[in-house]
């Protein structure tokens, strides 16, 4: 193909849903997973989009992910809840957790819902965005398997655990949304540099033996952003998620047993109701005024414009909603193979 394959979002979403459904996931949960993955593609975060489908299917195959989980919500104290995911795919468990956080925030002003025993969460920004769409402030963090350096230590020691924060305004501007890894560069981005044959920026990653490198073929371990700050945040997110829900990852992982190295993730989602903090109802307007203050800043040399967190993702979302989602040929072949295996029709039969 001369130009990359592009597929309309609804078509791709149905295809992904069908694949998961064929793998034993309920229609509703399969649609949720598809929604979360396609959202990431629409936002331009292809590393967290349908590129994950083969791995998700694999996790379902090995039993690390559970297609028919019995999810239980614990809430011993009312504003704080715990979703016991029973190894549900992350999108299923975290969408439920986001809705739980929203309900609690509406009642108590703030809702903190942590998720235990899930697998890969997808883009955490999806859930904070969901909370923002309900008119609340959303905060989210995830902890997973160690793949990043810890300041002063050798090897992959903590995870590139992300932090996401989404804040609703009046709707005049796209939702301000920060969605950042605690690493200088995510593993998925290193792969993109490798594919493009480009050098990594200095100070972004190290080789397996700890040597600093800008060669994406050699780079194995991303470095934490700001050294001790990034690795400190990652450790704290592990304490605020995994350890909070009684599922610590680091002791088991670093003791070296096979059980400790099994893929798993934990997360915390927080919703805050701005109307509980101020009865004036000025919050959305004040958010917009703050956005305008940032947009109005003089542009620094070497930059074309001053942008808000999440603005580029929102622009890509709009563009890809019209133009379709680009799908790499290799990934398409993998999906096609899975579709054949599970007897799912490929959308391209009719789309081509």
């Amino acid at each position: 193909m001369a130009s990359p394959l592009k597929i309309q979002p609804p078509v791709l979403k149905n295809y992904v849903r069908d694949l998961f459904q064929a793998r034993g996931v309920s229609a509703e949960d399969a649609a949720t997973i598809a929604d979360v993955l396609i959202w990431a593609n629409l936002r331009g975060v292809d590393s967290h989009g349908i590129a994950r489908v083969p791995r998700y299917l694999e996790l379902l195959g090995t039993g690390e992910a559970n297609p028919t989980p019995e999810i239980v919500v614990h809430a011993e104290k009312s504003a704080l809840g715990v979703v016991d995911a029973d190894r549900a795919p992350g999108p299923v468990a975290l969408t439920l957790a986001a809705d739980e956080a929203i309900a609690r925030a509406r009642e108590f002003g703030v809702g903190w819902v942590s998720v235990r025993r899930t697998v890969h969460t997808g883009a955490i920004g999806y859930y904070t965005n969901r909370i923002a769409e309900a008119g609340l402030v959303g905060v989210g963090m995830v902890a997973g398997m160690p793949n990043m350096a810890y300041e002063g230590a050798q090897g992959a020691s903590v995870a590139t655990s992300p932090l996401a924060i989404a804040v609703p305004g009046t709707g005049k501007f796209p939702t301000v949304m920060l969605d950042m890894a605690t690493a200088v560069i995510a593993l998925g981005k290193i792969a993109q540099f490798k594919k493009a044959g480009k050098e990594l920026p200095e100070g972004a990653a190290i080789a397996a033996d700890g040597t600093p490198t800008t060669d994406p073929n050699v780079a194995k371990i991303p470095l934490p952003v700001g050294g001790a700050k990034g690795s400190g945040m990652s450790l704290m997110f592990e304490l605020l998620t995994s350890v909070l829900v009684g599922e610590p990852i680091l002791p088991g992982f670093h003791s070296g047993g096979p059980e400790g190295r099994k893929h798993r993730q934990n997360a915390s989602l927080i919703a805050i109701d701005p109307s509980a903090a101020s009865s004036l109802g000025q919050f959305p307007q004040d958010v917009d005024a703050t956005i305008e203050a940032i947009k109005g800043l003089p542009v620094a040399d070497g930059y074309e414009r001053v942008i808000l967190p999440g603005q580029r993702g929102a622009e890509t979302y709009e563009q890809r909603s019209k133009d379709g989602i680009p799908v790499a040929e290799g990934l398409w072949s993998q999906l096609t193979a899975a579709a054949e295996e599970y007897g799912v029709d490929s959308p391209l039969v009719s789309a081509q």
Copy 2:
């Protein structure tokens, strides 16, 4: 003096308390302010310790800080509260907010308490540590006057707004506590490099005209840690504090009016009750096991040991509790001048 002046913490604490009391602050509030400032010195964060006393006294003098505030606690929904500080000095307002957050977390599992209309908060770590001492997880963030660069914009655009997170273990190790600015380097640290005649690290700060510099005499604006990540976090903390409580700082500041440039800060403190998330009661043990996993990591080349967030501060705390707090001569002269003005006895009459 050959060696720097060192003063025993209780002596210094009483002196600082007396200074604030002489300036019209109640005995109780003056003791709270002294407690917060001396804690920072004990932890080795001298930029947030008694070095702030002259500025705090000045703010009380100009009326920007209120020595006799009428603090009101609003709580329209139970887990989320707002402390309207009436321009109380930060330590007074935030200590109250921390205790409010603790009480709400004990009742609802999580307590989120935001503070509006305060002035300089002191070291945010103090309050998260206070929450951790109550057996709860503490999270805190502050927003203040723009003094840091925003990725892609010219000039001081957002604040070096800090994030602090403190997590209690069993007591076997010092409390794990991250307390980080969103800047590569805090303004107070630039001043320390200047005094020591040392070059700044590359990429830490820019001159007033935006030129990158390592000369601490020329450096005026710290850069955000990780570029868009640091400035994005700072903006988000402004939205989660100032805008949440109806006191946005950025629109007024950047519109350039004198009112918008008046010193003020807002903050949010969050307490989370681990016993509400898991009835197993394993949290403190799991925190310790995680600390041990980090301590046990192999040390990277060029490092002597692997340390936890807050560990160095805890070590300094122990040392200075015994040896006394070093006080620079210039600062001591300022305090002595203030003491003479307000008729407060200097402790050195008896200490020398």
